[in-house]
Structure formats: C-alpha cells, structure tokens
C-alpha cells in the first residue's frame, strides 16, 4: 500500500518530509532543554522542583523509584542537568547529521531518552509541546535509523500525522462542548490572565468584542475540522497548515507558548506526507 510513496519520487518526498521534521524537532527540543538548563535552580535541593519534593509523587511508581540512591542520582539536580545536556547534545547531532545515519540515530536516542527522563521525573510543569516532542522523537528514532526499511519510515510519518490530527480534533471537540468557548468569551478571558495572557493580547481582544467572539468560535471550529485537510484538495492542505502556523505563532507571542510553535510545526511535513498517502495521483 506504500508503493507510490516508495518509488524514487516518493522516497525523495519522504526524505524531505523527515528532514524538515528533524530540523523543527531539533530547534524545538534545543530550546526546551536550554530553558530547563537555564532554570536549573528549580531542581536544586530546596528548589521548587527538587527531587526531595517530586519523589513524593513517584512513590509506588515502579522499581526505579524504590532505589532512593539511584533515583536521587538520576533525578536530583546534577542528574537532571546531565539529562538536559545529553538532550541538547542529541538535538545538535540530529540537526547536523544526515537522515538514517548512525550519528542521527544516536542523537535522536539521546534526545528521546532525555525527554523520557523528564516524564519519569514528574508530569508537573509538563505541557502539550513536551508530549508532541516525545511523539515526534520516538517516531523519528524508530523510522529513520539505519536498520529499518523505508516502509517503516512511512509508517512512522503516518503515526506523527495521526497524533497531530488527533490533537487538533480532541482540542477542538473539547472546546465545542464548552459554554465559555462557544460563548466566544474564552480568548479574551484567557488573555487577561498573567499566566497565559498578555497585556497586548488582552488589549487586542478587548478592542473589538464582536470580532474576538468570532475569532474564538472560529478557532474552535478550525481545530475540530483540522483533520479534514487530509481528505481535501491540495490548496486546503496549504490553507490549514498556514492557519496552523499562524495560530501557533500568535500563541507564542501573546501567550508565551514558544515551544508549541516548534513542536506542532514539526508535525506539518508528516501531515503533508499523509495527504500524499491518501492521494496517490496528486502531484
């Protein structure tokens, strides 16, 4: 069933998509690991995210956490920092190495291991970008290493696209049943908060309440129907992906969700690949 994607032209598309995904993934993960290194004091003994406190949440979560000395070594300040340095080095290798090469695979393995350690340490302070980075990292590692066939690469790209489509659908559907979102007031009220809003965002949202209500409902509907891009013509794919990129850019500027931009952008070449998969005669 992958024949049209595994012809020489199809392979070139697959490689271009995977290379773009790797690049966006590497940028996003570098920012994530560098930010965690900059916020290193949080992991210190007595810090906000010290292992002394977070281990409280991990009691009974498996054998790893029943070895306090080992767990402290792995998840204490030094262990956490070492993990983030490992991840940062891994993303650099990913960015600089050709697809399916040994350094590329080693870099991905380092980045994925480090991302998994972040999850194992705690789910507190995690976000959707972190989850999407893990999805993309694991899929790239499994599909673009020297030991698997190109068909496996195609499976992994389809997996990334499915998770991306599911994320928009789930996010949109959950908002469709929400009175505050469908009432059109959610955007203005989120942008008014200090945690996820901004003065600029709130001012823009308050400038024309009618337009803001329209944008709020439009966001919900566009998220919910986002997976339809896979069934539509090529121009629809371009429109949806352009809207998605602008949406995440606005979220980065107005809400400070900087890593979401890279995490979601990294899934767009996979969505395009999935569209090609569903439209074998398209050029």
């Amino acid at each position: 069933m992958f024949e049209h994607l595994l012809s020489s032209t199809g392979m070139a598309v697959q490689n271009r998509c995977a290379a773009l995904i790797s690049l966006f993934f590497a940028v996003g993960m570098s920012v994530t690991f560098a930010e965690r290194l900059a916020a290193n004091a949080l992991y210190a003994e007595g810090g906000l995210m010290s292992w002394r406190v977070l281990s409280f949440d991990r009691a009974g979560n498996g054998a790893l956490f029943r070895q306090p000395e080992f767990a402290r070594l792995l998840f204490g300040r030094s262990g956490a920092s070492a993990g983030h340095v490992l991840g940062l080095a891994g993303t650099l290798l990913v960015a600089l190495s050709p697809l399916r090469s040994y350094p590329f695979t080693a870099g991905l393995a380092m980045a994925v291991l480090s991302a998994m350690l972040v999850h194992l340490r705690s789910t507190y302070a995690g976000d959707g970008a972190q989850q999407m980075n893990l999805v993309v990292g694991v899929a790239l590692l499994l599909g673009f290493n020297p030991w698997v066939t190109p068909a496996t690469g195609a499976v992994c790209l389809l997996f990334i696209s499915a998770q991306s489509a599911l994320s928009y659908l789930a996010s949109g559907a959950a908002k469709l049943i929400s009175p505050i979102w469908m009432g059109g007031d959610a955007l203005r009220r989120i942008l008014a908060t200090t945690a996820f809003g901004s003065e600029l965002g709130f001012r823009l949202a308050s400038f024309h309440p009618g337009l803001t209500r329209f944008l709020c409902r439009a966001t919900v509907i566009l998220e919910a129907v986002f997976p339809l891009l896979l069934a539509g013509p090529k121009w629809l794919v371009i429109v949806f992906l352009a809207w998605g990129a602008a949406f995440h850019l606005a979220n980065a500027i107005l809400m400070g969700l900087n890593t979401f931009f890279w995490a979601y952008l990294s899934t767009y070449p996979a969505l395009y690949f999935a569209w090609l998969f569903l439209h074998p005669h398209a050029r």
Binding site: F159, A170, S171, T193, M255
Partner: protein, 195 residues
C-alpha cells in the same frame, strides 16, 4: 528484504505505534475508559490533547503567606511573586514558564484533590490530612516555606490561595462571585519541623 516491505522490525514498530495511537484516543475523554488510561499513565507517555478545554484557566491565582508567633498573633500577609508579566522575548525564550506551569498544575491538582475528597464524603476542613499529604499541596508548601522568614521569632507559617477574575472591573458589586474566591487557607506549618 525489499524497501516496500516492513520486515520484522517494521511490523513490531507498526504494532507499537499503533497501540500508542489507539490508547491515546480514550485519553481525550473523561469517561470510564479515559479514567482507566489516566490511571495507567503515571508518566504522561500517553498524550492528552485537550488544551485549555473544556474549562480554560481564566483566573489569576494569588499565593500568600504569613508568619505566626507562639502566642497566635500573626504578621501581615505577603504575596509570592510567582508569575511575571508577558515579555516580547517569551515568544522565543521562556524558561520562567516552567515555574508558572508547575504552580498552575499544583493549584489545579489541589482543586482535584479537594473535589475527590468531597465526593468520597470527607470533610476537607475537619479532616485535611489527605489534602496535606497530596503532592500539589506539598509542592505549594515547599514554595511558600522557601520564602525568607518575616521575623526570626516567628515559629510557623500559614499559606492561602485565592483566585481573582482579571476581567472584573473596580465597579463590580462586592458580592460578585467572580471578584475573588478563597481556594485554600492552610493550618500553620512549623519552621523547625521537617515539612
């Protein structure tokens, strides 16, 4: 092995990723299946994609504390400055979001613990033990206890959290439920006892 076939490793990968995708679907729901996935998903490897929905965070949370003396008298309340305002460079570089997200997660988690305790029939005010031993409470207490002492003679510290609707204007009626709500007012925690 032809490039068109998956091979054994490819089939294993297909099964693994297919399973991961399959189990991700119910995690988007709050029904029994979703609750089951949440229970087995202690490390967050199964993604939940319902961002800011169905109920988005539309409140500002104020974390305050005060130090208490032996005779029961108290210092004035002080606020923990945990959330700085938005800056233009947060669009590319935003390490502070970890602190912000941790505290928002803890406050939301605290709400869930209180809701769970209420559903179980526990009177949270009379029997706060489960609340005090919950991770979100410990995380917030750790933050509050790390603030400098107001007076070296003080023996304990009390914390409180209240939420405020940032869109409510000064002319809103004082009895408006959106103007502010106390979420938690803790008992006193001794400085000299391990927290």
């Amino acid at each position: 092995m032809s490039s068109n076939s998956l091979g054994f490793a490819g089939v294993c990968i297909l099964v693994l990723l297919g399973g991961w995708l399959l189990v991700s679907v119910p995690n988007q729901f709050t029904n029994r299946l979703g609750a089951w996935v949440t229970r087995i998903n202690a490390f967050g490897f199964i993604p939940k994609w319902t961002f800011f929905a169905p109920i988005p965070g539309t409140f500002n949370y104020h974390l305050i504390y005060r130090d208490l003396y032996q005779d029961g008298s108290a210092m004035p309340w002080l606020e923990v400055d945990w959330c700085t305002g938005r800056r233009w460079f947060h669009a590319v570089w935003h390490p502070r979001r970890l602190t912000t997200k941790l505290i928002i997660d803890s406050i939301n988690g605290l709400g869930e613990v209180i809701l769970h305790m209420t559903r179980e029939g526990t009177d949270v005010e009379r029997d706060p033990q489960s609340l005090i031993l919950s991770t979100p409470y410990v995380l917030l207490l750790n933050l509050v206890m790390s603030m400098p002492r107001q007076d070296p003679c003080a023996i304990s510290r009390q914390m409180a959290i209240f939420q405020q609707d940032p869109t409510v204007t000064c002319d809103a009626p004082l009895d408006s439920p959106r103007i502010g709500k106390l979420i938690l007012c803790s008992s006193a925690h001794d400085f000299n006892r391990p927290q």
